[in-house]
Structures are given as structure tokens and as C-alpha cells.
């Protein structure tokens, strides 16, 4: 395989799969007005991730997954509990809990794990898309050369889409009118807890490869880019994933080839570039909608 493709393809695949996983689930968060819960989970999974490594002593995907998902869900539940006990407003309770979790994760990483885990705090924030590459195996089948992160992300993307299809009507009903859905809906609490678990899983899977900045951007931006144009929940999800995918691809290519395109000295951080493009696209998308409305009026 061509050397450039061996570097670009796995990274692009990871970015696109993360867009499908986080972009799909992000629509539910945005519709429920819980965008910042995504940010909190993206920070709170870190200690669980590191603890998973430390307990098993290996880079076991299962251990890190379980640890991180538990930490993410625990942080959200703790912040709900704090609001009840101390009367803090939602944002403050969320901020208090996730900074504590994240600080604990950084502490574990720096004091214990630095030598055992090839995960440094900078990667945690900005991701390591650039370091994913395809190592063509000599004798084994071709797919054994695909980095583990890509497989994990493929699983997360499948989970996110499957969950949204199967529980779509309950999720939509809960997002539109929680009071009505909690009264009349089928197993509303179960569906809400599953959403929390699936969002945590999607975030964990994306986190190691794309970093917490891009996780947040992928959760909220595609949904908000699609929102002004969507006429149904399904339409909003489809549009958000398509536009998110296009922006993620172009963001990655610009960053990775910045030395050729922009004449900069080195390649740029691609997770950051994608996040910047996605965030810029949100107000642009609203301006486009306003222009269309003005013309048709």
C-alpha cells in the first residue's frame, strides 16, 4: 500500500467512525438540551480509563472500556445527587464533578501510569489521530494490520446507530416532552439510563483516538449544524452525520497536509482542526438558513 494512504486511511476511518458514533448520539443530547453533559462525560471517563489499565496491567480494551464507562456514568449520577443535596445549579454541579474526576485521572496518569501506559495528558485532550497507521502484515490477513482503535470505533458506531434506530421513538418522545413520556412512555427510565450508558461507551471509544476536544465537538456541532434545516428527528440525524463526515474529512486532510497546503513547517493537530471547522460551521449553517428563509419569504 502507498505510504501516504497507510497513514491517512486509518486516521480518516477513525475520524469518520467517531463522527458516526458521537454525531448520532449527540443529536439526542442536543435535543434534550444536555450538550454539556457530553463535555462532562468526555472529561470524567479519564480516571476509569487509567484505572482499567492499572488494574489489569495491560492495554486491554475491555478493561479500559468498562472502567471508563463506569466513571462516565458515575460522574453524571453524582452530579445529579449533588444538586439534590446541596442545591447547586446543574452547570456548577456538573463542573465540580467532572473537574474532580479529570484531575484524579491526570494524577493517576502522571504519578502511576506514565511508564506503563503510552497515553499522555496531551493526547487525552488533543487526540492522537496522527499516530494511527496501517501496518501491512506480511503473512496474516490484511485486516490484522488495522489499528485496534479503528475496530473499537466501528463497534461504537454500530452501537450508536443500532440504539438510535431501535429506541428512536422513545428517545424522541422523551426529548420533546419529558413529563409526558415519563408518564405514558414505555420504560422511560430504562431508556434514559441506556442512553447514558451508550453515550459513555461512544465517548470512551472515541476518546483515546480523537481526544476530548474533538469528542465534544463531534457530539454537539453536527447536530446543531443540521438543526436549522431539519424537519424531523431522523432527518436531523442523517444530515448531521453526512455534514459532520464531510467536515471531519476535510479538517483532517487540511491539518495532515498543512505543510504542503498552507506552507507551514509541520503538520497541524488534526483533531483541533476538525473541531474548529465543525464549530465554525454552526453559525454559518444558521446564516444560510436565515438567507434561504429571507429569499422564500
Amino acid at each position: 500500500m502507498n505510504a501516504a494512504l497507510a497513514v491517512d486511511l486509518p486516521a480518516l476511518a477513525a475520524a469518520l467512525l467517531a463522527t458516526i458514533a458521537c454525531g448520532t448520539l449527540g443529536n439526542w443530547l442536543v435535543l434534550r438540551k444536555e450538550s454539556m453533559t457530553g463535555d462532562a462525560i468526555a472529561h470524567a471517563v479519564l480516571p476509569g480509563l487509567v484505572a482499567g489499565f492499572l488494574v489489569t496491567g495491560t492495554r486491554s480494551v475491555t478493561a479500559m472500556f468498562i472502567g471508563a464507562a463506569v466513571a462516565g456514568a458515575a460522574a453524571v449520577m453524582l452530579s445529579t445527587l449533588l444538586r439534590r443535596v446541596t442545591r447547586l445549579e446543574a452547570g456548577a454541579a456538573l463542573g465540580l464533578v467532572f473537574t474532580a474526576f479529570f484531575a484524579l485521572g491526570v494524577l493517576l496518569l502522571e504519578s502511576q501510569g506514565a511508564r506503563q501506559i503510552d497515553l499522555d495528558p496531551e493526547c487525552v485532550l488533543f487526540g492522537s489521530l496522527e499516530t494511527l497507521f496501517y501496518a501491512a502484515p506480511k503473512e496474516a490477513p490484511w485486516y490484522t494490520g488495522v489499528p485496534a482503535e479503528v475496530w473499537t470505533l466501528a463497534g461504537a458506531a454500530a452501537l450508536a446507530v443500532g440504539f438510535s434506530v431501535v429506541f428512536g421513538k422513545e428517545l424522541a418522545s422523551l426529548a420533546f416532552d419529558p413529563a409526558h413520556a415519563r408518564l405514558a412512555g414505555t420504560a422511560p427510565r430504562l431508556v434514559e439510563r441506556m442512553l447514558l450508558a451508550v453515550v459513555s461507551a461512544g465517548i470512551v471509544a472515541s476518546f483515546a483516538a480523537v481526544g476530548s476536544v474533538l469528542v465534544l465537538a463531534l457530539l454537539v456541532c453536527p447536530a446543531l449544524i443540521a438543526a436549522p434545516h431539519a424537519r424531523s428527528v431522523r432527518g436531523q440525524i442523517l444530515l448531521s452525520v453526512v455534514v459532520g463526515g464531510l467536515l471531519a474529512t476535510s479538517g483532517y486532510l487540511v491539518a495532515a497536509h498543512a505543510d504542503q497546503i498552507l506552507g507551514s513547517r509541520t503538520a497541524l493537530n488534526s483533531a483541533g482542526m476538525i473541531a474548529t471547522l465543525l464549530a465554525l460551521a454552526v453559525p454559518c449553517s444558521h446564516l444560510v438558513r436565515a438567507a434561504i428563509n429571507r429569499r422564500s419569504a
Binding site: 446541596t86 483541533g272 474548529t276
Partner: protein
């Protein structure tokens, strides 16, 4: 340890961190009362692109990348811009305050990540760079940094004390403030300025990612203990100063622990101690 053993610079760092902790606790009390906790989070993250730009500008102008006042200025500029973007964006249909906060945070921090990678690739950046700014490092603070922190924190604290009464009225009874003819919008703008100044003053020490914890957690602990606003603000300042000092000392004692993480955990511990108090004190009244 005697003063001579730890040295004048360490004393300066300790003084600086306690002043910052006190400031963050006091400003945080008003930030929580105005429900701006997550705006503080945005401001912290949004300082990154400004700091990176300031580094590159410093290098280009021959001042050196880590010129403290230039970094503070750059960080404050983008943090303020972000704080302005949140309400502007939340007015758009179908976005709302929650979505706007997340988008602005992601966008500014993403841009910060890009500029950060340029700084790290810069010949001057590869030596020290801005790495320590992410999670904070009291150890990496030189004399000039400490002086800049002391100056900015003192000025901010003075501004807070000067407008204390107006800020108090707006924070705890907005309707009364309006009816009394107080400039609510102006005072909110002032609070945003104080918030950004606090975040920027503390970023070298607490780091841009976790600096928000020093605005939220000590103030939340003080609220748990209850009492009138003056008392809450004072307790928040004391808790902030104490936990900031504990964080700095802990990060010196345990090698490799970033100051920001240590401070956050110290403040969280202080908060957890006060939670049962909040619970039982109210239970007794019921």
C-alpha cells in the same frame, strides 16, 4: 523548612497562589450565584488559542515566547471573545445556552489545539513551549510570572471590592437590582471581566483545563456552610487560598503531579467535607 531554605521565589509562588485562590473563591461565589459556572469553563479553555498566538507574536517581535504579560493579554483576549460568543450564539434558533456553551468551548479549544501544535513545532516552543499551561505548574513559574500574577490578581481583587455592593445585589436579587435602577447589564459585564481576569491570572498555576475548578469548588463549599453573602464570600476566599496552597505544596512533594490537578483535588476534598453539613443543617431546620 525555613524561609531561606525554600527561597524567595518559592515564597513568592506561595503568596501568588494564595492570592489567586482567594480571588477565585470570592469571584466564584458571584459566578455561581449568576449561574455562570460553565462560562468560566469556556473562558478557561478559550484562553488557549490566545496564549498560543501571544507566544508566536512574542517570538516574532523578539520578546521571547513566554513573555508573561503578553501571554496574559492574549489569553484574556480570546477568553473574552468566547464569553461574548456564548450569548450571541445562544440567541440563534434551535441552539440555546447549553448548545452554545458546548460549541464555543469546542471551537476555541480546537483552534487552541491547532495553534498549540504550531507552537510545539516552533524551534523556541520545543524547549519549554506551553505544555505546562495545560495542567498548570507552579514549579515552572519564574519571577516575572509571579510578579504578573500578583499584579493582575491584586488589580482584579481591588475591582471586585470596589463594586462589591452592586455585584451582591445583582447576584442575589436581580429584580430588586432592576427596580433600584442598578445597571444590571453593566454589572454582569463587569462580572465577566472579573471572571476572565481570574482565569487568566491562574492559568500558569492551575492550568487552563482545570482552572475552572478553583472558581466553582471553593465557592460551592462555602455555600454549603451557609450564612449571609459576606460570610459566604469570605469563607470561599479562605477555602480557595488554603486549597491553592495545599495544591502547590502537594505538587512539589510528589514528582510529576501537575499543580492544577493537585489544587482541584484539594478543593474537592474541602467541598466533600462540607457536604454532610449542608445536608444535616437543612434537615435540622425541616
Amino acid at each position: 523548612m525555613t524561609a531561606s531554605a525554600i527561597g524567595a521565589n518559592t515564597l513568592g509562588v506561595l503568596a501568588g497562589c494564595m492570592l489567586f485562590g482567594a480571588l477565585a473563591g470570592a469571584v466564584g461565589t458571584f459566578v455561581l450565584a449568576r449561574r455562570r459556572a460553565l462560562v468560566a469553563d469556556v473562558a478557561g479553555h478559550a484562553a488557549l488559542p490566545g496564549v498560543a498566538l501571544a507566544f508566536l507574536a512574542g517570538e516574532a517581535l523578539g520578546l521571547g515566547g513566554r513573555t508573561p504579560w503578553l501571554l496574559l493579554l492574549g489569553g484574556a483576549a480570546t477568553a473574552l471573545l468566547a464569553a461574548w460568543c456564548v450569548p450571541a450564539l445562544s440567541r440563534l434558533r434551535r441552539i440555546g445556552p447549553d448548545g452554545a456553551t458546548a460549541v464555543v468551548l469546542a471551537g476555541f479549544f480546537g483552534l487552541g489545539a491547532v495553534l498549540f501544535s504550531i507552537v510545539q513545532g516552533h524551534p523556541a516552543g520545543s524547549q519549554g513551549g506551553l505544555r505546562t499551561l495545560l495542567f498548570g505548574s507552579a514549579a515552572a513559574m519564574g519571577r516575572a510570572e509571579v510578579v504578573a500574577l500578583l499584579a493582575l490578581a491584586t488589580a482584579t481583587l481591588a475591582l471586585l471590592i470596589l463594586f462589591l455592593r452592586g455585584l451582591t445585589v445583582v447576584a442575589f436579587d436581580e429584580d430588586f437590582a432592576r427596580s433600584a435602577g442598578l445597571p444590571v447589564r453593566g454589572l454582569d459585564l463587569l462580572l465577566t471581566l472579573l471572571l476572565v481576569a481570574t482565569v487568566v491570572a491562574g492559568m500558569q498555576m492551575a492550568g487552563i483545563v482545570l482552572v475552572v475548578a478553583m472558581l466553582i469548588t471553593p465557592a460551592a463549599a462555602a455555600r454549603n456552610l451557609g450564612g449571609r453573602i459576606g460570610r459566604v464570600t469570605a469563607i470561599a476566599a479562605i477555602v480557595g487560598a488554603a486549597t491553592a496552597a495545599a495544591g502547590v505544596l502537594a505538587s512539589r512533594a510528589i514528582a510529576g503531579v501537575p499543580t492544577g490537578a493537585a489544587m482541584t483535588l484539594a478543593a474537592t476534598a474541602a467541598f466533600l467535607v462540607t457536604v454532610p453539613y449542608a445536608h444535616f443543617a437543612r434537615g435540622a431546620r425541616a
